[in-house]
């Protein structure tokens, strides 16, 4: 029951971490790590397991964030309804574009997903009557049945719970026939097809799922920060998300969480040195792929197994 051991360990870390968090600033970092981890767990299904790159996932985060922002703040929708609507809409959009996009391979797939992300970003910047343009817009707090999520502490527990749920879901998919099919697609798409796997269908499913994860986190971020700007869907943010997958470890769900933790904390540490943040980020990305092609966690795990 290895898969529940990992989940239990993470649940324990989440439960005990507040003892080590001295103030709201640290809570804030922990919440951001958790939110990024949820997106990255979803994206890892697509990149790590199915071997399909997406350079536009921040676009889906942006759509989720703005669905929540616009519907709840401009139209007075209940935040949960706005969030669910955002997830459904992103799911439909992802489903519609997935088939033609996922027929592409390698560079062409990178190009198409990148283009998709940039187009979403430009719509968010240009439709300023709705989105507030480059200045962004404020978002009202998340509330449900009269209860309002306001404090960092409350958000911490919500984010932790959603993260655990996302991991449970991802692990279930990985260990199901769908997961085996996805790994077969990663190994060799032709061989998978020959073995009778409808590869496109599985790729589409995991693409939609990872997009919906991203959208849900976009909504959470919008309410948590009380503010959204188009930067949430920028090309750089898409790259950050891919970096988290790659650094943590492709095809490793807990590696994805580790990647999110490292790359969310790092900019906070480097924030005072303008420019050096990008230098470090770029170096980490290059060095990881060159020297630890399988990512941190799988490499460490393999070393431990060899040693012990």
């Amino acid at each position: 029951m290895g898969r529940f051991r990992g989940l239990a360990a993470l649940a324990l870390i989440i439960a005990l971490l507040p003892l080590a968090l001295p103030n709201n600033y640290y809570y804030d970092v922990a919440i951001r790590i958790g939110m990024n981890a949820i997106i990255v767990v979803g994206l890892n299904l697509l990149i790590g397991y199915a071997g399909q790159i997406s350079l536009g996932h921040a676009g889906f985060v942006g759509l989720g964030a703005y669905a929540s922002a616009v519907l709840s703040s401009r139209f007075g929708w209940p935040p949960l309804a706005a969030m669910l609507f955002g997830m459904a809409a992103v799911g439909v959009i992802a489903f519609v574009v997935a088939r033609p996009i996922l027929r592409l391979r390698g560079h062409y797939l990178a190009m198409a997903t990148l283009g998709l992300g940039i187009i979403i970003y430009m719509v968010l910047v240009n439709e300023s009557a709705w989105t507030g343009g480059n200045d962004g817009m404020s978002v009202r707090p998340f509330s449900l049945l009269g209860l309002t999520l306001a404090s960092e502490r409350a958000w911490y527990w919500v984010t932790g719970a959603v993260l655990l749920g996302a991991i449970l879901l991802a692990n279930n998919i990985v260990d199901s026939p769908v997961g085996r099919a996805l790994r077969a697609v990663h190994g060799s798409e032709v061989a998978a097809q020959v073995a009778g796997i409808d590869t496109t269908r599985y790729k589409v499913r995991v693409f939609v799922l990872s997009a919906v994860f991203a959208s849900a986190v976009g909504s959470m971020m919008a309410h948590y920060l009380g503010f959204v700007s188009p930067q949430v869907s920028s090309f750089f943010h898409s790259i950050e998300l891919v970096t988290m997958v790659v650094v943590g470890g492709m095809a490793s769900t807990y590696g994805a969480v580790l990647g999110a933790a490292i790359l969310t904390t790092l900019p906070q540490l480097l924030a005072t040195f303008e420019g050096y943040e990008m230098i470090t980020f770029g170096l980490i990305l290059m060095l990881t792929v060159i020297f630890l092609p399988r990512g941190l966690l799988p490499t460490i795990a393999a070393r431990l197994r060899k040693a012990g």
């Binding site: 350079l55 090309f235 230098i279 980020f281 980490i284 792929v289």
Partner: protein, 291 residues
């Protein structure tokens, strides 16, 4: 009406020349190594930034241009030696991520050295616009279009007439066979990065007086170069030039007649539509005939 259309065509050709140079850089490296170099745009940025820094330090313009191009060519060589070669036979996704890492790294370095602001290079030959049939054309635009044309001719001569150029083509065609006839394919790989970097730097220098330059100008022009290269068929030289010009013209006409706010979205909409209907992209020779 006519003068307005002419105006759009001028601006389309000017930008198209830069996209074409960027696309040629993508194609050269892709041919030699199968890598899509996402740092191609940073070569363009570095060229402009280096020229601005050198001229403001008192170096005369022609010398500054030469030094900027040389410096960026060295950056291209270092990138190949320290990031692409050590990765060995990594898969496409890994190689894409390495070059993206390089791109972010170079932007960071430029931001530290150059700061966050935008600066312009002085136009090479004044800034009095030339008026043709009611449409005005900056002398610098002529420099951009002219430089693009000269480079295309030089490359055509290099690949068609010189041993080294033919060795590069042979490597692109079949690396193993090229090695068997005695071509040092490692040198070819390094050379392709040097040439691409130099091409990018030249594009960056000639466009810096018009488009201004800053640490982050490389992303967009690089991505558009990738679109242009894909449009013309990855790896095709003729296709890269045609793709660049088509992209520049489409963008300028769309900006003029449809929406200037969405000007930067045009290339991406175009490429997505093309990839949707032709999943393998268009191929060089065919695209030029069709359009």
């Amino acid at each position: 009406m006519l003068s307005q259309t002419l105006q759009y065509l001028f601006s389309g050709l000017t930008n198209g020349a830069i996209y074409a140079l960027s696309a040629l850089g993508f194609s050269l490296i892709y041919n030699a190594s199968g890598v899509i170099n996402f740092a191609q745009g940073e070569f363009i940025m570095l060229g402009g930034v280096a020229a601005v820094l050198l001229t403001s330090a008192g170096v005369p313009l022609p010398l500054a241009i030469l030094l900027a191009v040389l410096m960026v060519a060295v950056v291209g060589l270092l990138l190949e030696k320290f990031a692409i070669e050590p990765a060995g036979d990594a898969d496409v996704v890994s190689l894409i991520i390495i070059t993206i890492g390089a791109s972010i790294f170079l932007q960071g370095v430029a931001q530290v050295v150059f700061g966050k602001g935008q600066r312009a290079l002085a136009p090479f030959t004044g800034d009095a616009p030339i008026v043709i049939a009611g449409a005005s054309l900056l002398p610098q635009s002529l420099w951009m279009i002219g430089t693009g044309a000269v480079i295309v001719l030089v490359l055509a001569w290099f690949f068609g007439r010189t041993r080294l150029g033919k060795a590069m083509l042979a490597t692109a065609h079949n690396r193993l066979a090229a090695r068997l006839v005695g071509i040092n394919t490692r040198h070819v790989l390094a050379l392709s990065f040097v040439i691409s970097a130099a091409l990018g730097a030249i594009a960056g220098v000639v466009s810096a007086p018009i488009t201004l330059t800053s640490y982050d100008v490389g992303i967009m022009v690089g991505l558009k170069g990738f679109v242009a290269a894909t449009l013309g068929g990855l790896g095709s030289g003729v296709g890269a030039v045609a793709g660049g010009l088509i992209l520049g013209l489409t963008e300028a006409l769309a900006a003029g007649y449809i929406s200037s706010a969405y000007k930067d979205a045009v290339p991406f909409v175009l490429i997505i539509l093309i990839l949707f209907f032709m999943p393998r992209g268009l191929f060089g020779a065919r695209v030029t005939e069709r359009v």
